[in-house]
């Protein structure tokens, strides 16, 4: 039974793609008919530096199994340095999640340029593989009507 | 025990935009259940909590008069989460309502008196209720002269324009409408409410004043009323405060030992004088 669920389970992955490079890269993958796993849901953002770690955490809390943030290669940022700033946020957040005990690999980062349709598909493939290895996310997920732990046993009693 | 926190169902019969900036919308609601309609008895000046499930609740003064049977009107300014949701409601949608809440205007005190109504901007809602109520044939004889001074920033921001035109035609009601800035089509008065009040100079003798508007208008109108020798006990206003429960439990509308939701929202200046200025 458990195995069957494991087999049929597909991770849900949220991808924040920068408007100028990675989103165009994903577009190119599409127009070039390069296949990649259908597990990702894309949100287009102006720049990978725009990503507030709060977005990533909110996604993880809402039951997303993994988050991918993708931006321009170093030096190629449309806003000159957004991706460098994003890089520091990503590095610290990833380490922090690992430290807390939420697998750091749930949050992944990549540089994908507008010309790299192939790389985009490859990155998505890798991310999906990584997340599949980790299995569905159980820690930190908000369950519907889960209003208990803070006041242990509240739901059943109060 | 009746649960006072459970909203009763109503349905949006009509939704109309009031002002040119489209920030004010009037919802006309009717009860889904006959018994709820029967049980709902209110007086002008009372308010209700309108509730959109998933967004929350917010208090609104009832803009319709008890004499307008069958439906309730609320005019809503788009400001926060709940009001935005209320602005997006379509006709025919079900919403929840709790009320009537609060004390309402002291209608009984008004018997045999002249009534001066001063309103500014979108605070005119419960005043409309009051005017419609008092000018209804059944009640008109209960009070003597009714004078209404109503101002808005611009002609486009006046509420209930059709009714204003009708009231203007009435002989038993004196209506003065004013705007801060006129436009090319505006034929009426231009001027701030306090100044217009000074100009109209209604007698304070045997008169109750009811004033509702933005704080800045109240601040400047109040001295003019004093100059006209209105005593504090005969000036009434309706306060606005952040509210949640509406029944004097949750605590946030507390001013001194009173609760705006339960002991108000209508207070006389004589009452307010004794309270801390937490409003």
């Amino acid at each position: 039974m458990g195995n069957e669920i494991e087999k049929t389970w597909e991770p849900k992955i949220l991808a924040f793609l920068c408007n100028w490079c990675s989103y165009a890269g994903a577009d190119l993958a599409g127009t070039s008919r390069i296949q990649y796993p259908p597990n990702i849901r894309v949100i287009r953002v102006p720049c990978s530096g725009r990503i507030n770690p709060l977005f990533i955490l909110k996604a993880l809390q809402s039951g997303i199994d993994g988050v991918l943030v993708s931006g321009c290669h170093p030096g190629d940022c449309h806003y000159i340095s957004g991706n460098y700033i994003g890089r520091r946020k990503s590095a610290t957040l990833k380490r922090f999640l690992e430290y807390l005990g939420i697998e750091g690999d749930r949050v992944q980062f990549s540089w994908v340029s507008a010309a790299e349709g192939g790389k985009f598909s490859q990155v998505v493939g890798e991310v999906v593989q990584d997340i599949k290895k980790l299995g569905s996310k159980k820690r930190f997920v908000k369950k519907e009507n889960s209003r208990s732990l803070g006041v242990e046993g509240q739901e059943k009693t109060f | 025990m009746k649960n006072p926190y459970l909203p009763i169902p109503m349905v949006v019969r009509k939704a109309s935009v009031e002002t040119t900036d489209r920030m004010l919308r009037t919802l006309e609601l009717s009860f889904l259940n006959e018994e709820d309609a029967k049980a709902f008895r209110f007086i002008p000046g009372q308010f209700c909590e309108l509730s959109i499930l998933g967004k929350g609740e917010a208090p609104f003064g009832i803009a319709s008069s008890p004499t307008e049977n069958g439906s309730l009107k609320f005019t809503i300014n788009k400001a926060g989460v709940v009001t935005t949701a209320l602005h997006h409601l379509e006709e025919g949608t079900e919403i929840g309502i709790r009320g009537p809440l609060g004390n309402g205007y002291p209608i009984d005190l008004f018997k045999g008196k002249n009534i001066l109504v001063i309103g500014g901007g979108f605070a005119f809602t419960t005043l409309r209720s009051l005017i419609v109520y008092l000018s209804h044939p059944e009640n008109r004889s209960r009070v003597k002269d009714i004078t209404v001074i109503y101002g808005a920033r611009m002609p486009g921001l006046l509420l209930y324009k059709e009714e204003l035109t009708q009231w203007e035609k009435r002989s038993d009601l004196k209506l003065v409408v004013t705007v801060d800035w006129g436009d090319k089509d505006w034929k009426g008065k231009v001027g701030l409410v306090p100044n217009v009040l000074e100009e109209v100079a209604p007698s304070s003798e045997n008169t109750y004043a009811v004033i509702c508007g933005p704080p800045i208008m109240i601040k400047f109108t109040f001295p003019k009323l004093m100059a006209l020798r209105f005593p504090n006990e005969r000036i009434y206003t309706s306060l606005e405060k952040r509210m949640k429960c509406g029944i004097g439990k949750c605590g946030r509308c507390n001013i001194g030992h009173l609760y705006v939701c339960k002991d108000g929202p209508v207070f006389s200046y004589a009452q307010l004088e004794k309270l801390p200025k937490d409003y």
């Binding site: 520091r88 005990g101 990549s110 990155v123 | -």
Partner: protein, 320 residues
Amino acid sequence: MEERSKAIQDRIRDKTKELLSKKAVDLIIGFGEGSLPLRTTPIFIRSPEDVDRLIWNSFCENNLATYLHKFAQFKVGLVVKGCDARSTIALSLEKRFKPDQLFLIGVPCQRMVDRRKVKRAMKGEILRAYEQGDQIIVEGEDFKKALNRNDFLYPSCQVCPHRTPTQANILIGDPVDESPITETHPEIVEFEKKSPEERWRFFEKEASRCIRCYACREVCPMCYCNECFVDSSNPKWIDKGPSPSDLEFYHIVRAYHQTGRCSGCGACERACPMEIRLTYLTQKLNLDVRELYNFEIGIDADALPPLSTFEIDDKQEFIK
């Protein structure tokens, strides 16, 4: 130890008297006598006659830099320990006050005593406590005991690397030896050895006690957002009930928002009425930015906080 404290206390009072008499500042924020043993309380001195209310001892646990937000309109004299001084630098980097608005009375810190640890060590209620040399004498209804103060230090004080204020208009007392009691953060080292599962269990258990009083946020000098993400209604990031996941969300974001900004004063943990462990999170973030970006807050008054800047060759081996 208490002779040193006494000398510091006298000099704080003298300096305060001088500053207030000269009208160099509008008020001095310092520590005053608490009404309970093992406690002091922030006080606000405006007149030279009142300076005798200022005290200094091993229980000056608050980070007074928090009050800079409240007194943004005034010229403030602030009694600061090493950590508080670093918070003021962090705040000045974020342009929270004008440079000439602040007069720092720096005190090299002797490391503060954890009142809860002391309380836990005693069976009955402590009614009186004072310092004697390196000992804390605690007295109750039917006991009197001498405790070695170094056994009862706050966790954040044990690992404090900069007890002497790095920046102060005047330093009161001689600089202290800067070597931390323990070189690395022992708690973090231990914690990192645990499995992810265990680490998460620990965090989950701690966060579950949260009552959302937000004291950890309010005492923190660096938590000054006009609207905290927990309070925002549009977008609504978080529900306000005690769902375990929401409590965890709050604590993760609160801690992470301190990355490269936290002075490690430990005020958050001291404030928590439910005794939730919090510094093991912020200290880890501090270690991370030190390791990754060679940055420590409050040392260099011109260095930008690490998340507001970058180097071209920052580590990026984790990026695909």
